[in-house]
Symmetry: C2
Subunit: 345 residues, 2 copies
């Protein structure tokens, strides 16, 4: 079983995979994704993964057989698992939480060679549908405080298998970065009764020079304080805190926007390794006075996606300070990206 431990100096939780217990000889630095003889994510290899928890399938096809377009399966080596009993305890100076949660893999396409950005919007829509359905399902578990969807594209960005996939990790505590965003957004709202994300969209539209694409439903921009070269964020224009509340039409519009965002990055940067994360609202309690109650979260938070090409190293300075040094001003990144993105419409 894993456990979460609290760092009393850094004020953040860490997941310690106590049962994996990797010893000194167990590490090698992977230079590329594992080359397996048979890819467990490929069409026809469904029995090589744990049993699927969601799939988009041809009518009449059975679970864990061919006939799917998108499949979600539990991670074979989960960082967190739903089977443990949730305990939150203090041990002397320190704090721990049982490693309760979920860790799932979204297999985005049956085609081994296609990446997410290669798919048509119709197929990207199905991947987003899988995200939404799994978030909705995991939100029902009262032990869960956050559900993070993320993607590692290529070994340099942390992918261990090359078949295109994203991951979902549900945690019993709120992650540090999301908590920070929520606190900043709450403070802004409580002072001004306006959403900080909506304010940022308006500010950036006015200035214009960091805008990558100003679409009907989505706003793509290079953020003012980008940590990485060509970092790009996607904000929905309709204020909404929770990704799980999107309807199918909105998901399809988002699929088109994601296609544009990934296409722009691929063409401007020659298909780089990348990560993206979906920040949706935490899973909170609606009842004042209950654990997990966070007040006016529907007004405060605004779901969004952050995309980072991995072109620079995270080294000692970044680790030790929390500072990032970005050699490409976001204004320059936006200039390069916006022309290419416009060309696909």
């Amino acid at each position: 079983m894993s456990e979460l431990r609290w760092d009393p100096l850094k004020f953040r939780w860490v997941i310690i995979a106590t049962e994996r217990g990797r010893r000194p000889g167990d590490f090698e630095i992977p230079k590329e994704e594992k080359k397996l003889k048979v890819c467990p994510f490929c069409y026809g290899q469904e029995e090589k993964t744990p049993k699927e928890v969601f799939a988009v399938r041809r009518d009449g096809s059975l679970p864990n057989t061919p006939g799917w377009k998108v499949r979600v399966v539990p991670n074979r080596f989960p960082a967190l698992s739903s089977e443990a009993e949730l305990r939150r305890e203090g041990i002397g100076l320190f704090d721990r939480v049982e490693g309760v949660g979920a860790h799932e893999v979204v297999i985005e396409t049956p085609h081994h060679e296609k990446s997410l950005g290669d798919l048509d919007p119709e197929d990207i829509f199905l991947v987003l549908l899988a995200y939404r359905e799994r978030i909705r399902a995991l939100q029902q578990d009262p032990r869960i405080r956050y559900i993070l969807v993320f993607k590692n594209h290529r070994a340099e960005a942390g992918a261990s298998l090359s078949h295109s996939h994203s991951q979902i990790i549900a945690t019993p505590v709120m992650p540090f970065i999301v908590r920070q965003e929520l606190i900043a957004a709450k403070e802004h709202f409580s002072r001004k009764e306006r959403c900080i994300f909506c304010d940022i969209i308006k500010n950036e539209q006015l200035l214009g020079h960091r805008v990558v694409a100003d679409m009907d439903h989505f706003f793509i921009w290079a953020p003012y304080a980008s940590c990485f070269p060509f970092e790009t964020w996607l904000f929905p224009k309709r204020h909404c805190h929770d990704f799980a509340k999107l309807d199918d039409d909105e998901l399809f519009e988002l699929a088109k926007a994601m296609k544009a965002m990934l296409y722009g990055m691929k063409h401007v940067l020659n298909d780089p390794p990348y990560n993206f994360v979906l920040h949706t609202s935490p899973v909170t309690s609606k009842r004042p006075g209950k654990p997990g109650y966070w007040g006016t979260i529907e007004y405060d938070f605004h779901w969004h996606i952050e995309l980072i090409p991995r072109l620079t190293h995270i080294a000692g300075f970044e680790w030790g300070s929390g500072f990032y040094i970005n050699p490409t001003p976001p204004e320059l990144a936006a200039e390069s990206l916006k022309e290419v993105v416009a060309s696909i419409f």
Copy 2:
């Protein structure tokens, strides 16, 4: 000129190197350190670096000529520079600070092939002496709020040249991670009138199973909430907030402890890439009511060194959540390290 920009959602500063302006074609992911025909850090190549700001030299040898054992030179591509005029300004929704500061390289040895851990304690002492002298000098600049010493060992950990070196970056704002530590330590002290770092040493001595080495003057341990496998922290046993206050005897004891720490990691993990950072106290004002005044910082903070071997990836999950997944419990890391470390005494 660089500038620092504030992220109003993540509550952290980012350094944007506006003048470097790296465009899409300028990125390639280095697989190893640059292979230069002539190493600019080598003995006899002193004219290939900017002019030295500090050196330990044979009596009578001239600056920027041979005769040195350790040299400190400005970084040729500095992230921050002392030449700008400090301005702190708000621009609409956002905030910026002129990229004032310093960025220096500590060339740790004249020998191209030796790494820091290969040096004798007598030579490691000279490297630590260079850190102390440069920190003392940079503390005199009233525009500076923090001085971070760090090291990237090997390309996988972010080193761009293989000749053994560390770096010093002085910033006009307090880095996010240090600020968090300082706030945690201040809160602990204000409640209990005890240093949280001193309390942690006592707690860990009592429990014992995360101790790597309990030396006369230094305490080396695998921290309870380690983010990385075999992460190791070194705390001085004598409470002291500021590394610059160490005398030569203490520096020599520290050199022996560093040697032990690096030797243990090298032998247990087969010479891995690594980073370390020195967290000393921020440069604060002593006068209440002045900018940069932080109160009882001498009591609150406790300088220390954090060492992380780079055995795992920083990928989408870590980036998007601030969570780390550590597959090696620190108790297991301490068990492996302590025997090897004990063997060198």
